[in-house]
């Protein structure tokens, strides 16, 4: 049986320590030990993307990563992107187009979109769908998710 131990993490640029069993998924450490509500619990199996965070800048499913295996990797949640210029452009587009309905999946959607545009500033339609395929929106806001990502990409293109 796993035993509780002190674990150090770097979350949103800050050093955090918690006591947990190493097998605890990062999601539950973030939500219930460190008090971050942004990453959401949807399926616990890496199939819905509601718990998406970034680990060293790459989108990752926090429900699939044991907290004991994170080590020194940098974890970013939606709470940690508040002054990120690309995130702010995404958030503005999300609001302008009124993407969300219930909103439960949207932090995960934004983190996936953010990682996509960081790596591929001018994605085509297939690249947008490919990057967002792992994020379920049960309300099916997909048409507006596509439109919001395309809008941010287009504005960035014009800004060059």
């Amino acid at each position: 049986m796993p035993e509780m131990t002190a674990i150090s993490l770097t979350v949103n640029g800050q050093a955090r320590t918690l006591t947990a069993t190493p097998d605890m998924p990062l999601l539950w450490a973030l939500r219930q030990e460190l008090g971050l509500a942004g990453p959401k619990f949807g399926c616990g199996a890496g199939l819905c993307g509601a718990c998406t965070v970034q680990i060293d800048g790459q989108p990752a499913r926090a429900c699939q990563m044991p907290v004991g295996a994170v080590g020194t990797a940098r974890i970013t949640t939606i709470e940690g992107l508040q002054r990120d210029p690309l995130f702010e452009r995404l958030r503005a587009a999300w609001l302008e187009i009124d993407v969300m309905q219930c909103g439960y999946c949207q932090a995960g959607q934004l983190l996936s979109a953010h990682a996509l545009l960081k790596a591929t500033p001018q994605p085509d339609a297939a690249q947008i769908d490919g990057a967002m395929e792992g994020n379920i929106c049960r309300c099916a806001t997909y048409p507006r998710i596509r439109a919001a990502i395309a809008k941010v990409a287009k504005e960035a293109g014009h800004g060059r």
Partner: protein
């Protein structure tokens, strides 16, 4: 069809708001709306602060349907508020002040459209009166601009904030007599408005039920029988109790069955993960004998036997359909079947509860908190008067949270741990296992055509689930299913199968299945008659008719108007260029129409069939929900969401059972729609001079027959059993 389907009698109470300003409560008793309406009052609460900021309380549960925004827009419109200075706060469950605090049936818009406007108009009237007194000018010379009362002759103006304290001391106008705006002068209603909570959600703020955090909070999971109807025989919790983080293991006894509380064992820990891990260490013995034989295959075989036998309980008998069929020049027969479905909202069921000194405090993401509180009172003996229920934002409803077993469980766990706030969380497997499923169903149809290809008779025998001659929850077939009332010889029958599987309403309950079965069969009938489905529909709807009771305002909106049906059918045919599309090759159009939840929707799907699978290229939607959209942004979101939801249901969704146990336990087995399968969706609104009605549901049903009829047109494969990719 009457324009005013909602009784207007109402009254207001007013008082000075804390810190200066005006507080208004409006109550509208005696609504004469749907049969489900309880004889409760409807109320809203408005405050205007001295600085002019207006706070409107949202009374209804927000499940993503946008009601928190839409109802506030109605009040703000007639108040002539500056929308940018309106704040909307969520009410607690408070039946003394706010009746109808529920989200279901697409009812919030039709029930609240007029009362919310009257509330706003009454406040505006008081502000005008206050300005008349202050400026010593005739009331008739005053008008308003957003947030201001204006006296044009003297070029004077007062902010609402300046007037609010004085207005609060004025007598109340009768809200049924205050003038309402001409909708052509609306500044807020009918304009696209972003959801009032969107900015917060997009910063990850803790608004949802599962985000609730109370000091010293613990987390619970609840292990129930693996099969519906199972009973707990024995529990050995010794290993689980010793697991890391575990605080308590609590066996709970059945009280009220699946809809309230079933046998099970709660594991309470300092973190959900510890509770979830420890539950695997429980050694439980279950008596599953009651669930034996309750399997999808057994149900299908029993349904087939009932349909073969042919005689069900009559739901409706117009003329003599059997005699007509006997003399028809052509008879078309077919059977249709659809599976159980789960709701699978993305936020799993959860509820936070704190029991202390005989009182219970709940943070409950419920579509109908009244039912949660009532059930807890009945089953756990905590008086409703000692229960406080906070309504959280809700991560999707779809009808799942109209049933509140999760709240009863949370309350029972909290009651066993007085003084400790506990949050019960369902795993995804729990959520799929403990659902109240859209019922599976089976239909046998027969239709008769005369020598001229006219439909002359229709029969439908439906098999669904029921007990003691009564259909189970959300299982019954609607005796008014189209084309009832438009065909002289028509008969609908129903037979019931016993089940242990709990059923419940899923977005557009019943309609989400019946639209598919009826519109698919009518597509077959139309083709047998040498025409297409829209042509048959337009023939059946050729005369201006109202089917149903439209003299009774309570039923007027439920009555079916052929005029409104034709309006959306013709519009979607034009939008999709139905008549001019080629009729051959692997790409084709399919059509579907349905009327439910007061909304008329006609939809066309453009589908390509290739190598045993299909792709949806586009969907066109034409909808009539009355004279006015409240928030066009929200309205379009509901329609697109419903269409994509319907496409995903039809494509691959099913919950199957083996001896009462669901065979799907996650999103690998129960497949929700994803972005890549989402086609472009074009929406046309067909306004009509009717009261505005809701949009959470009615756009979903017709897309499923539109899809399957298109697959037939493109491939010759008639889909008579869902899901398509079974």
């Amino acid at each position: 069809m009457g324009v005013e389907a909602i009784d207007r009698r109402s009254f207001l109470r007013v008082s000075a708001a804390l810190g200066g300003g005006l507080a208004l409560e409006i109550a509208v008793p005696g609504r004469a709306m749907a049969a489900a309406a309880t004889p409760a009052e409807l109320s809203a609460y408005v405050t205007i602060a001295a600085d002019g900021v207006i706070t409107i309380t949202g009374k209804n549960p927000e499940i993503g349907q946008g009601i928190k925004t839409a109802l506030a827009m109605l009040i703000a419109e007639e108040l002539d508020a500056d929308w940018a200075r309106v704040r909307v706060v969520q009410a607690d469950y408070d039946p003394a002040r706010y009746p109808d605090q529920f989200a279901g049936g697409s009812l919030a818009t039709p029930r609240n459209y007029l009362p919310m406007r009257q509330a706003g108009a009454a406040v505006r009237q008081m502000l005008l009166q206050a300005a008349a007194t202050r400026g010593a000018v005739p009331l008739a010379e005053l008008t308003t601009e957003p947030g201001l009362v204006v006296h044009a002759p003297s070029h004077r103006r007062w902010t609402y904030g300046e007037l609010a304290a004085a207005a609060a001391h004025l007598p109340l106008p009768d809200p049924t007599r205050v003038p309402l705006k001409d909708p052509r002068k609306f500044r807020i209603v009918g304009t696209p408005q972003v959801g009032v909570d969107s900015a917060k959600v997009l910063r990850g703020e803790p608004l949802f039920g599962i985000d609730t955090r109370q000091p010293g909070q613990l987390y619970a999971v609840f292990e129930s029988a693996p099969a519906h109807g199972g009973r707990l025989k024995s529990c050995d919790a010794s290993a689980a109790e010793k697991a890391p983080g575990v605080v308590a293991v609590i066996p709970l006894k059945e009280a009220g069955g699946a809809y309230a509380l079933v046998d099970g064992v709660a594991v309470v820990a300092t973190n959900y993960w510890y509770a979830e891990s420890a539950r695997t260490l429980l050694k439980l013995e279950w008596d599953l004998s009651a669930a034996k034989g309750h399997s999808s295959e057994a149900y299908a075989a029993a349904a087939k036997a009932l349909l073969d036998k042919g005689a069900g309980t009559s739901l409706r008998k117009d003329g003599d359909a059997q005699a007509r069929l006997a003399t028809a020049s052509k008879v078309v027969s077919a059977r249709y079947a659809y599976p159980f479905l789960a709701h699978a909202p993305l936020e799993p069921q959860n509820c936070t509860a704190l029991y202390r000194d005989g009182a219970l405090e709940l943070w409950v993401p419920s579509q109908v908190p009244r039912q949660a509180v009532g059930m807890i009172e009945t089953r756990l003996g905590i008086p409703a008067a000692r229960i406080t229920a906070h309504m959280t934002r809700i991560g999707g409803g779809f009808g799942r949270r109209l049933d509140n077993n999760f709240a009863v469980e949370a309350a029972a766990i909290a009651k066993a741990l007085p003084g400790r706030p506990i949050q019960l969380i369902y795993s995804r497997a729990d959520d799929l296992k403990r659902d109240f499923y859209r019922a599976a169903g089976w239909h046998a149809f027969q239709a008769g055509l005369d020598s001229g290809g006219r439909l002359t008779a229709l029969t439908c025998h439906a098999v669904t689930f029921g007990t003691d001659g009564k259909p189970n929850r959300a299982c019954e077939m609607d005796a008014n299913n189209f084309p009832a009332g438009l065909l002289a010889d028509l008969a609908y029958q129903q037979s019931l199968l016993p089940t242990t599987i709990p059923t419940g309403p899923l977005r557009a309950p019943r309609s989400n299945a019946h639209a598919w079965a009826f519109q698919s069969f009518l597509d077959e009938v139309a083709l047998a008659a040498g025409k297409d489905l829209p042509q048959l529909m337009l023939e059946l709807c050729a005369e201006d008719r109202i089917v149903g009771d439209h003299s009774d305002p309570a039923k007027a909106l439920s009555a079916f108007s052929t005029t409104r049906a034709r309006g959306v059918i013709q519009r979607v045919l034009a939008d999709s260029r139905w008549a001019s599309r080629p009729r051959s090759g692997p790409r084709a159009l399919g059509f579907g129409f349905y009327f439910c939840h007061y909304g008329y929707f006609a939809e066309v799907a453009d589908v390509t069939v290739e190598v045993g699978d299909y792709r949806v290229n586009q969907v066109w939607v034409a909808g009539d929900v009355g004279s006015q959209l409240v928030n066009p942004l929200g309205a379009e979101a509901q329609v697109r969401g419903a269409v994509i939801d319907g496409l995903a249901q039809a494509a691959a969704q099913a919950i199957t059972f083996a001896d009462g146990a669901p065979q799907q336990s996650g999103f690998d087995g129960f497949l929700l729609g994803r972005i890549s399968a989402t086609p472009p969706i074009a929406i046309s609104w067909v306004p009509s001079p009717n009261p505005p009605t809701g949009l959470g549901e009615p756009a979903l049903p017709p897309v499923i027959p539109a899809l399957t009829n298109a697959i037939f047109a493109a491939s010759g494969r008639r889909i008579r059993s869902l899901p398509i990719r079974a």
